[in-house]
Structures are given as C-alpha cells and as structure tokens.
C-alpha cells in the first residue's frame, strides 16, 4: 500500500473512531447540558431575535454578563413575559419557567461578550 493510501486509511479509521466515540455516547449526548442550552436558546430567544425575525438579532455576545443578569432579574417580567411565542402560541412567561430562565441565564452569562472566550478562527 502506498504511503498516501496508508495515511488515507488511517485518517478514515481515526474519523470512524471519532464518530463511533461520538455516536457511542449518544445517551450522554442527549443529556448534554450545553447542547440543551444552545437548543433552548435557539427555541426560546433566537426564534424571534434573528436576522429575519420579528425582533432585533441577538447572540450571547450581544450583551455583557451583567446585562444578561439584569435582563433576567429585572426586565424579563416587564418586557417579555406577556409576549406570545411565535410557534408555541403561549405567553413566554408560561413557557420560560424560572428554572428554564435560570438555565438560559447561565448559558448567556457564560458566553457573554466579556466572558473568557476561545481564540480560534471562524467564530
């Protein structure tokens, strides 16, 4: 086998191993906290706060941590609780229970503009 082919085979083997590792831990993945938080953020906030949405586009880094904390502590009840979720057709105050808001807040503070952030390309 040529070196090129051997490397390609090894690369594929490694890729398969990586995928198996990821797939093999599917159960754990389903319970993965951060994936759930990202999905929650998308379903609860991004559903409106996106470029073609009904509200101003937002990402976790749109505000600093203190501002996210203030939003959940002071502003949510007055500005968002009575708004209707565009898909679930229920008030946000009902959908986003205190426990869910706590999870959202943690996710947003952890990824706020002033949080310690990875230094990689493309994000």
């Amino acid at each position: 086998m040529s070196t090129g082919k051997a490397i390609a085979v090894r690369a594929l083997a490694l890729a398969a191993a990586a995928l198996l590792a990821a797939g093999g831990l599917g159960t754990a993945l389903a319970a993965s906290g951060t994936k759930a938080q990202v999905e929650l953020w998308k379903a609860s906030c991004r559903v409106c706060h996106q470029p073609k949405g009904s509200a101003k586009p937002l990402s976790p880094s749109s505000l600093i941590g203190m501002q996210w904390q203030r939003f959940f502590a002071k502003q949510f009840a007055r500005t968002h609780a009575r708004l209707t979720h565009p898909e679930k057709k229920r008030a946000l105050g009902e959908i986003l229970t205190p426990e869910i808001r706590k999870q959202l807040e943690k996710f947003l503070v952890d990824h706020a503009a002033d949080s310690e952030q990875p230094m990689t390309c493309g994000r």
Binding site: T3, R10, A17, S62, C121
Partner: protein, 582 residues
C-alpha cells in the same frame, strides 16, 4: 447600584422637564395614556387626591409605573452605549503571568557525538598527512600542532559530503578499532542539570475588532522572558527550543520584545453560506486538550497534542452545523525565496518551500463535549527551519566554536515528508473534565542526510520509513463553585514520536514531544474571577534521545548512547504561577 440611582434621577428629571411635551417614544406615548401628561393635569389629579385618598393612591401608583416604564426605556437605550463602553476596553484584553520554577534534571551517561566527530575529522587529516591510521589521540594532536596551517585549510574546505564519503570508505574493522580508542575520550558521565529557581514573566495582549457584519479581526501581541535576560538568543544545548524559529518566538521565553504572535481576519458567512475564510498568523497554539492545565478556554484551532506551533497560513472552514466545523488548513513552514541567499546558489541547489496542509475537523464542539480529528502533512521538510542560535560546536568538524557568535541558521536540504494524525475526545461530566488523545506520525524520507541527520536517522545512516505514536489522557476535578480545579495528566510517546509542538507552554520542554512518559499534577484556584494561582508538578521520564526532533536516530538512553548534544533522561519541576487576566 449607583448607576441605577443615577439613571433614576436622570429619568425623573427628564419626566419633570418633559412635562407638557408629547412623549417621544412608544413607551412614553403608552405611558401618557395612563398617566398625567401635563403639569395642569398633575395638579388636577393631585387636587383630586386631596379629596379622595384612593384616587391619590392610584395616581401615585400610575406615576410610579410611568416612571418605571421610562427608566426601563432609558435602560434599554443605555444598554448599547454601556456595552460599547465596556467593549471599548475589552477589545484590548490580555493577561500577565508570573511563574517561579524549580527544576531538577538528570543527563545520562553518554558519549559526546561532537567530540567523536571531531576525532574522526582529525583522523582523516592524519590519514592524508601520514598515510596510516594514528596509534593514539596524542598522535592526532601532535600532527595537528606541527601542521596547524594545513589543518586550518583542511577544516575550512571540508564539506559534509566529503566527510560522509570518507566515512563510507572506512574499513569496518578499522572503524571499530578507532572507535574503541576514541570512545573513552568522548565519555561524559551522567550529571545533574538543576536550576534551583527560574522566574518568568509573560504578557499577552489580545486585540479584537469587528471589521464588518461578517468580518472580524483577532490578534495577540506577546512578550515572554525569563528574569535577568533579554538577549533573545540562546546557546544551543540540544533541546529543540534553544533555537529561535518562527514557530516559537512568542511561546518560548525570549526577551522583552513584544511580538506579533497572532494576527488574522475571519471572513464569515461568505455568500450567505456557513463557510469562512481566515488568513494570517494563525491561532495555532494552546489547542485542546493543552488548555485544561492552565484553566483557560480553548487557546487555538488545531489539536494541541499534535500541532502547537506558530505559523502563517489560511483556513477555509465549513460550519456543518452549530456543533461541528470542518476546516482545510494551509501554512508555510519555510519560505525558501526570501532572505536565504537563493540567488547566490545554482538553481539546482536551491530549496523549495516547506508547505503544511491539514484537515481539522471539530466533529463535536460544545462546552461539555469536544471531539476533534486532525490529519496533516508537511511536504519537503528541511533539516530545520530558519532560526537564530549560538552554536557551541561546528556540526561538520565537531570543533568548538570559540566565541558565542549569533548565527542565522538556514536549512540546507529537503529530507522528505511527514504525515500526522490525531484524535482528541474530551467531556465534562458533572464536576469532572476528562480527555483522551491518540496521535500518530509517519515519515517518508528521501534518503538525504545533513550534518544534523536525516528524518529519524543519524548523519551517516540511510534514513528509513518510521512511525511513532503518542497517547495522552487527563482528568480534572472542579470544586468550590468551579473556582478550584485539581488535575492529573499523563502522556507517553514512542521511540519515533514527533509532533509540531515546539511552542507548547512548558519551560523544560514541550511535554507532548517526550519519547517516554510524563506525569503532571496541578491545582488552579481563582482568587478572583480573573486572578489565578497555580501549583504545578511535572515529571518527565525519557526513554529515547531527541525528543522534539525530526532529525537524528532516537537512542535508548539506558545504553550509554552517542549523542550529538546532551539530553535529559529525567526531569521534574515544581512551579508556582500567578496570572492576572483582564
């Protein structure tokens, strides 16, 4: 809280000043429907309140609600300038680290390869002069002393090619006889190489800018030095980090010079597609899983276990989904046509560039689970990269260089290709972070050797295809509300293991380059959110020589090997770090 008071006072003032003026905002307009809008109305309501306490309470409540609405509106409007003000400062983030190290290291019994090479060169000279082999080392020295001018002429004209040819022509029996005579003179008994105390300062300034809707810039300026030295150049001692090359200028202690460690832009969402292009001096150090031991977020794009090296290049990336990114990366390790006097050479003797190509796939990337796959190839690898160094001995003649002269080292030949592959798997389960990593390297030499050797071969050997591997695992426990973390890591590299990790953050040597075993135990604690203390103990146990080198045959350190330069067979370090991040 004082800010809120100021907002309230400002808002109240605005309400009073604006009384009688139609409200400008939607909220204000809404509020105007439910609250008194003019002084006259307020006075009227107040008068009514004097007659009826309930009305007065309602009016007060309405007024308070109105005030709250207006404050709310003001706060919302102030969010942007407040954030902007904060980010104006945060765009220039950074960190400063002080470290104190105590190092205890041992160099094994070995034979000095430079001394041996020097004796062989002297023997060639002796042969030319006398026509017979010497009977002792004293014969060699006597001949040189009595024909010193001839000796100088001989050594000044001797090339590595001639030396290699002469070595090949040596009768094996004679070689054995001469080596038996020379080896005792080249023997170096094992010794300690301790450093009771070594202090370092490291400053890193991160600059971020949002260039446009889809374009960002990220850069980092770094200064890293030991206390008491700013020369920027080190005497070469056999460790790969003692030669200054492009890949290590900012991550190996150098001087008080602030260098551009990273500078790149990312052009995101090109054409509305989930792809990006990033070009510049890459974020290619401190990748997963090397960041855990420093209590830092992921410090670079490629897996740190296989590439921890500064280089210039580009990345084309595809965000497959929110949790997976595939990247094609390209870089240049050596530019042959600039600064190397290529035009002074015959076209046939000129070198090509050294190019690096890789695929880097974040198979799964969330805060609590990370899987990364890397495949990379280095084409036409040379015998080292451009660098600055103080060489203690001439690698051709083995003669000691009498003065600490700074040399610009330039590669002299292509040695072949290197292929690397790596998989990293990391998870966080409750208070435990853990990772495992498997890494592989394979060489495809082209048969060429130079005074520093060939790919995993000595200068006078014929290089063979070699492969090496390295396994790396670690566990970290978080407690005290994640402020305190204690971790243990282990890695093992095989005989022919090599990675591009010369810029790895470790003062003794990059631990993932070790051909042997490394254990590390550390404790980090956040005294303040962004002020950390770290205690670290690291223990290296080397099995083979040449860790971190793609040149030279790795020698078993228990066999009293011939070493071109000394190497550690064990090393351990205690370190205390204090780091301020802002």
């Amino acid at each position: 809280m004082s800010e809120r008071r100021v907002f309230s006072i400002v808002a109240a003032s605005i309400v009073l000043l604006a009384a009688g003026v139609p409200a400008a905002t939607t909220h204000a307009a809404t509020a105007a429907k439910t609250a008194p809008a003019t002084t006259e109305q307020r006075t009227g309501t107040a008068a009514a309140a004097d007659k009826d306490g309930d009305v007065s309470a309602d009016a007060t409540r309405d007024a308070v609600e109105d005030l709250e609405q207006r404050i709310e509106d003001l706060e919302r409007r102030l969010n942007e300038p407040e954030r902007h003000a904060a980010l104006d400062r945060l765009l220039f983030q950074g960190d400063f680290r002080f470290e104190a190290h105590t190092i205890q290291a041992k160099i094994p019994d070995h034979f000095d390869g430079m001394v041996l090479q020097n004796l062989i060169v002297k023997t060639l000279f002796y042969f030319q002069q006398v026509g017979a082999p010497p009977e002792s080392i004293a014969d060699l020295d006597a001949q040189i002393e009595s024909h010193y001018a001839d000796w100088l002429l001989f050594t000044s004209k001797l090339t590595f090619g001639q030396l290699k040819e002469a070595m090949a022509g040596f009768d094996p029996a004679l070689q054995q006889q001469l080596f038996a005579m020379y080896l005792p003179a080249a023997f170096v008994p094992g010794a300690n190489a301790d450093n009771d105390i070594l202090y370092t300062n490291r400053l890193r300034l991160r600059i971020r800018a949002r260039v446009g809707d889809n374009v960002t810039f990220d850069g980092r300026l770094s200064m890293y030095k030991v206390w008491g030295d700013s020369t920027g150049v080190r005497v070469f001692n056999g460790q790969p980090t003692t030669i200054n090359i492009d890949g290590t200028t900012a991550n190996v202690p150098n001087s008080d010079i602030l260098r551009v460690e990273r500078a790149y832009f990312s052009w995101n969402d090109i054409g509305g597609l989930p792809v990006y292009l990033s070009i510049g001096r890459r974020p290619s150090t401190g990748g997963v899983p090397l960041n855990f031991r420093h209590d830092e977020p992921r410090g670079g794009t490629p897996a740190g276990s296989v590439i921890d090296f500064q280089f210039d290049g580009l990345t084309f990336g595809w965000h497959i989904n929110d949790f997976s990114t595939l990247r094609l990366c390209y870089g240049v390790g050596y530019e042959s046509g600039f600064g190397n006097g290529q035009v002074l050479k015959n076209p046939a003797d000129r070198l090509d560039d050294v190019q690096l190509l890789g695929i880097n796939w974040d198979v799964w990337d969330t805060d609590d689970m990370f899987v990364q796959l890397t495949v990379a190839k280095a084409f036409d690898v040379t015998d080292g990269f451009n660098g600055l160094v103080v060489l203690p001995a001439d690698p051709v003649t083995g003669q000691a260089i009498p003065a600490p002269v700074i040399l610009r080292y330039t590669p002299s030949a292509h040695l072949g290709d290197l292929d690397l592959a790596s998989v990293v798997f990391q998870r966080s389960d409750g208070p435990v972070d853990w990772f495992v990593s498997a890494n592989y390297v394979e060489s495809s030499p082209n048969g060429v050797t130079t005074p520093f050797g060939g790919l995993f071969s000595d200068p006078f050997e014929a290089p063979q295809d070699r492969s090496g591997s390295m396994f790396y695992g670690g566990v970290r426990l978080r407690f005290n509300d994640d402020r305190t973390k204690i971790g243990v890591e282990y890695n093992h590299g095989s005989r022919y293991w090599f990675n591009f990790a010369a810029a790895e953050d470790e003062i003794i040597a990059p631990k993932t380059q070790t051909r042997g075993d490394v254990w590390e135990v550390y404790l980090t604690h956040r005294i303040e959110n962004r002020f950390l203390v770290k205690l670290d103990y690291i223990d290296y146990s080397y099995d083979y020589s040449g860790s971190g080198w793609l040149l030279g045959t790795p020698k078993d350190l228990e066999t009293q090997p011939v070493l071109g330069f000394p190497t550690y067979d064990s090393a351990r370090k205690f370190a205390l770090s204090l780091m301020a991040r802002w």
